[in-house]
């Protein structure tokens, strides 16, 4: 005979509500009324109640694919959840996100394993900077212990004393895989290795779990430090729907052990009463929600129409190096705007970053300048969290080649948050990085990888050049509401603004927030439209005279600075006039901006235009000078290819 249990009925009701909502989902799913998939937490509900249910309103939660329980326990918004999964406009994410992408007040979930951990850390860091007493919880499964960004983040959490509680819901399976196949070592020992305090509990003793979780939450809040909680539990249903290969006996055993089951056995009348009330409530909501409509596409997506400014102003040289201009702007921004936070490897002064762009910043406002471990993914994730929580992080990736390590945070997090949470949030993160070769740094420190960065929806990519004051560009960047990647160029840092001024050409820029530069023959009509951006711009400008002399082609050079949305009208007009369009790229050509630009112009132009891309050879950039010179587009090859093309 089982021991008589003593438990607070409010907790039972909370857990039961979660279970009934999810059972409803499974029912609707089997009736074909749900789109996509669901991951239920049937069997794990008390973890949600113990952690999410014991936070304060000002606190926050980041959760994963198995988030319904956390959501209900924290927000109480059953209706919003039901409507979301039924794909209605009144759903918590307008039906855009569905099961794994929920957002309500301070609750966020995302379906990328591990990726939310640094975002949660950034969100918590923001709370600490605001000194508002808020703390947060991030939920992960035991399978997610395989994700590296978790460890990058634990290291930082511990070092920076960020008040975040990591709850690892250990249900002994990752999708179909039993834990022993993929998990080495000990779970808690992982956190302890970073000096993070750990707790352990389970969902079969809910009263105890409530006490332990309260203690962990209090620890994080009072000590303003991270904490790691391992909750052993078991999911009674399949990973998502019908995909269960576990031993049925094992599952049956856990069904007996399930606390709600025990409660039902022991207090059948209470159970029945609660169950009926909850079911009634849910059925009423579902009936109502069915009558509602979906989000109209116009509310989700409005095509943006770029119109290029046509007021051309003559540019004047500035006797300052590009790096000084950037640095001065950053110093002013850091001091004048309390929301500005700088992050990056080795950015503390006196070192001031590998290229000295962040010089002096940490002397000015040490509390908002973070020199980070070598953890690009976590650092960008933390930046995302800061941005979600009201800050304006400007994050440096030391070399452009390292951007790949942060790509998940850029593409699956920063870029998607605004839309997948149905425009409830913005993530105005700024990531800046130097690209470009010609310094002999070799294959992993020289490449221009812009082509991987320009096709990310909702992310602007900007390339600085030596013609436009970087302060002007960074001012525009700072007022963006969505993520921006700024590509700087190593060889441009030391150049003065407009130091290259070809004879008999005029240098002008338009009034766009990210100005377009146009370098045209002073009087004559050009016979070639040349496009270059970033580090190639300066080189292209310096070649204009030679190109004319050697090829008889009189070029108009157009330099866009926003490269993720090209000034196609200006480009098309110029190319239609000259009949020739050449794009210079420092990256290799296939799938690059040159191809995109030429396609865009061709779509718009009414006349035939002859085109050419001149780009790097498709190999990693050699360190040895003679070969590096040949791999990157250089003078002789440019002239040669122009001669061949026209």
């Amino acid at each position: 005979m089982m021991q008589a249990i003593k438990i607070n009925h409010r907790i039972i009701k909370e857990a039961l509500r979660i279970r009934k909502v999810e059972e409803k989902f499974l029912q609707l799913f089997s009736q074909g009324k749900l789109n996509g998939t669901v991951h239920t937490c049937v069997g794990q509900e008390f973890s949600a109640v113990a952690f999410a249910g014991q936070l304060k309103k000002k606190d926050f939660i980041f959760s994963n694919h198995r988030c319904h329980g956390h959501y209900i326990a924290f927000t109480g918004d059953v209706r919003g959840l039901l409507a979301e999964l039924l794909g209605k406009a009144s759903g918590t994410s307008g039906g855009i996100g569905s099961s794994q992408h929920l957002c309500h007040h301070n609750f966020f979930s995302n379906g990328i394993q591990g990726g939310i951990v640094p975002v949660a850390a950034g969100y918590a860091l923001a709370g600490k900077l605001k000194n508002n007493g808020a703390i947060g919880i991030v939920f992960i499964g035991d399978g997610t212990l395989g994700e590296g960004v978790l460890y990058e983040t634990m290291n930082i959490l511990s070092k920076w004393e960020i008040p975040l509680l990591i709850v690892c819901e250990n249900n002994f399976y990752a999708q179909s895989t039993p834990q022993h196949i993929n998990l080495a070592g000990d779970i808690q020992a992982r956190a302890r290795a970073f000096g993070i305090r750990t707790f352990k509990g389970n969902t079969w003793e809910p009263e105890l779990l409530m006490e332990q979780s309260a203690e962990a939450i209090a620890f994080v809040r009072d000590q303003q430090k991270p904490c790691f909680f391992q909750v052993d539990t078991y999911r009674l249903n399949a990973h998502s729907k019908g995909d269960d290969d576990r031993d049925p006996e094992d599952v049956a055993l856990h069904r007996q052990k399930d606390y709600l089951h025990i409660f039902q056995q022991q207090s059948p009348s209470y159970y029945q009463m609660y169950e009926e009330a909850i079911n009634q409530e849910i059925d009423a909501m579902v009936e109502e929600i069915f009558k509602e409509s979906d989000l109209p596409i116009e509310k989700y997506f409005q095509p943006s129409t770029r119109t290029d400014d046509r007021e051309w102003k003559t540019l004047e040289p500035v006797n300052k190096r590009q790096v000084e201009l950037i640095n001065t702007f950053f110093q002013e921004k850091l001091v004048s705007d309390e929301r500005t936070v700088f992050l990056g490897e080795d950015i503390h002064s006196p070192y001031g970053g590998a290229f000295k762009v962040t010089k002096e910043l940490s002397f000015l406002r040490p509390e908002r300048v973070f020199t980070t471990p070598i953890s690009e993914a976590a650092v960008v994730g933390i930046s995302n969290g800061l941005a979600l929580n009201g800050f304006r992080p400007i994050t440096e990736i030391m070399f452009g080649d390292f951007m790949t390590l942060a790509m998940d945070q850029i593409i699956n997090h920063a870029s998607k948050f605004h839309h997948m949470f149905n425009r409830k949030v913005n993530c105005p993160v700024v990531i800046r990085t130097p690209m470009g070769g010609r310094r002999g740094y070799g294959p992993t420190h020289s490449q221009t990888l812009d082509k991987f960065l320009v096709g990310i929806d909702n992310v602007k990519t900007v390339a600085l050049n030596t013609f436009i004051d970087p302060a002007l560009i960074y001012r525009s960047v700072s007022s963006e509401e969505h993520p921006v990647i700024v590509i700087e160029n190593k060889t441009d840092y030391g150049k003065k603004l407009l130091h290259t001024r070809p004879r008999n050409f005029t240098c002008q820029a338009n009034g766009d927030p990210y100005p377009v530069v146009r370098i045209s023959p002073a009087v004559s009509a050009p016979t070639l439209t040349l496009v270059a951006y970033g580090g190639m711009a300066d080189m292209a400008a310096s070649l204009l005279e030679t190109i004319f002399s050697e090829t008889d082609l009189l070029a108009e050079l157009i330099i866009p600075s926003l490269i993720s949305d090209l000034p196609l009208d200006i480009l098309t007009e110029s190319a239609s006039r000259t009949g020739r369009l050449v794009v210079l790229e420092e990256g290799s050509p296939f799938g690059g901006i040159g191809g995109e630009l030429i396609a865009g112009v061709t779509e718009k132009a009414d006349v035939k235009i002859r085109v050419r891309r001149i780009a790097a050879l498709p190999v990693p950039i050699p360190s040895v000078k003679s070969l590096e010179h040949l791999v990157l587009p250089e003078k002789n090859r440019i002239i040669q290819e122009l001669k061949e093309s026209f």
Partner: protein, 441 residues
């Protein structure tokens, strides 16, 4: 002893490679003061006064009524009177001292004061043909094409396309007189008329033009158009200018000209509209018309017409026209053949609206060397379609606010085609009444 000022024939309009001296206000050898008027040139569009830029003694190298090529020196001012006497050979009209490159839009015409940069190809050609660098003074860049163009200008100086001089085809014709000359009264052509003949001969004299006509339905067209118009109510001109200029982007061949060996396409659409109200026939320019809105076009037409009437036209208002519209709709014509202007490839003529048939003829004359009938037919049909789209049935929204005060039917709902009548209600208020309520069913 010094030469203080040389006065070359100014470049006032791209299309004018020669100018006519219509007045010489001083005599050679006379002392002049800075600011004194010396002479008057006439272009195809306007007149231009030349004033002395220094105190000294003027010497004229030209005659009244002579045509002189742009760049030719036609007068000079010296510091001493004696210097004038020694130079008495007046420049021959129509013969310039320096070769003048053909004035095509592809070639830089503004003057550059900096150094001139030559491409290697250009230098090689120049060397082979013994052309001096100095021939390109005032240029920023000189490419092989520029050298070729210069050569073409040298070889066929006066008659080459795009570069006709004063003694071009129109003036070289031998006068035809009856056997007894006293039977006719001979009146000398005004320079304006001469200019007109020259202008129209350029394309027409080849005999390679053709004209196509179409008509478009005008029923109910003004209801919508007038809505956007502030001054020019019941006028087709603004909307035709508007639609034509946009359409020309699709038909670049109609917005260009035949250079003599190639086709030049203008980059801009500068629409000219012909006007002739007491002050002589002029073609006024709607610059970059394809970027103007309908109200902007109306405003610009008003502005230019006022300037025209006040004799205040700017040279810029008359030059660089890339396509012309001639509107004879006020003259009661049913159709006519417009003539293509020099350095244009087509012209659109608008006839009067036939009030009975509710239609209006559009005619396009085009230079067959640049385009052909099929293209122009498509152009006309496109234009017709665009204009007819203004008919009120396509734009029901416009009449939203007009309702019959008696039956509350809106003009939009009205099935008749007579429209509503403006009236005063028994309460003394201005209102509209529909035909049914007015006349009974």
């Amino acid at each position: 002893m010094a030469l203080l000022q040389q006065i070359p024939v100014p470049l006032l309009a791209v299309n004018d490679t020669t100018l006519t001296v219509v007045e010489i206000t001083r005599r050679s050898g006379e002392p002049v003061r800075k600011g004194d008027q010396l002479m008057v040139f006439e272009t195809s569009k306007t007149t231009y006064e030349v004033v002395a830029e220094a105190d000294g003694f003027v010497e004229f190298l030209c005659e009244v009524d002579g045509d002189y090529e742009v760049g030719a020196v036609v007068a000079r001012i010296f510091s001493e009177a004696a210097e004038v006497a020694t130079r008495q050979a007046p420049a021959q009209p129509g013969r310039s001292e320096q070769p003048v490159p053909p004035a095509s839009k592809d070639i830089a015409l503004a003057v550059w004061e900096g150094e001139t940069l030559f491409s290697q190809a250009a230098l090689q050609m120049m060397e082979a043909r013994a052309i001096a660098r100095g021939s390109f003074a005032g240029r920023d860049f000189v490419s092989a094409r520029d050298v070729e163009a210069l050569e073409a200008g040298l070889k066929k100086p006066a008659t080459s396309a795009g570069n006709p001089s004063g003694d071009g085809p129109a003036r070289r014709q031998r006068p035809v007189l009856p056997a007894d000359p006293s039977r006719v009264i001979i009146e000398k052509l005004t320079s304006g008329k001469r200019r007109e003949i020259e202008y129209l001969s350029e394309v027409q004299s080849t005999g390679l033009t053709s004209t196509l006509h179409t008509f478009f339905e005008t029923r109910g067209i003004f209801g919508h158009i007038n809505h956007s118009m502030q001054y020019l109510k019941n006028s087709l001109l603004p909307v035709i200018c508007y639609e034509t200029s946009r359409l020309l982007r699709k038909y670049p061949a109609l917005n260009g000209y035949f250079t003599g060996e190639a086709v030049a396409y203008y980059r801009e659409v500068n629409l000219g509209f012909a006007i002739d109200i007491d002050k002589g026939l002029k073609v006024l320019k709607l610059g970059a018309a394809d970027s103007l809105s309908l109200p902007e076009i109306e405003q610009e037409i008003m502005r230019l017409s006022n300037q025209y009437l006040d004799d205040k036209l700017d040279i810029g208002d008359l030059t660089d026209i890339t396509f012309t519209i001639t509107d004879l709709s006020g003259e009661g014509v049913s159709f006519f053949k417009p003539l293509v202007n020099k350095m244009n490839s087509a012209i659109l003529g608008v006839s009067s609206i036939d009030e009975q048939l509710k239609r209006c003829t559009l005619s396009v004359t085009f230079d067959h060397r640049v385009s052909e009938g099929k293209m122009v037919a498509r152009f006309l049909s496109d234009l017709k379609g665009r204009l007819e789209s203004y008919q009120s049935r396509f734009h029901p929204a416009v009449h939203k606010e007009i309702t019959c005060f008696k039956c509350f039917k809106s003009l939009q709902e009205d099935l008749g085609d007579t429209g509503f009548v403006q009236c005063i209600t028994p309460q003394g208020q201005e209102a509209y009444i529909c035909q049914s309520c007015l006349k009974g069913f």
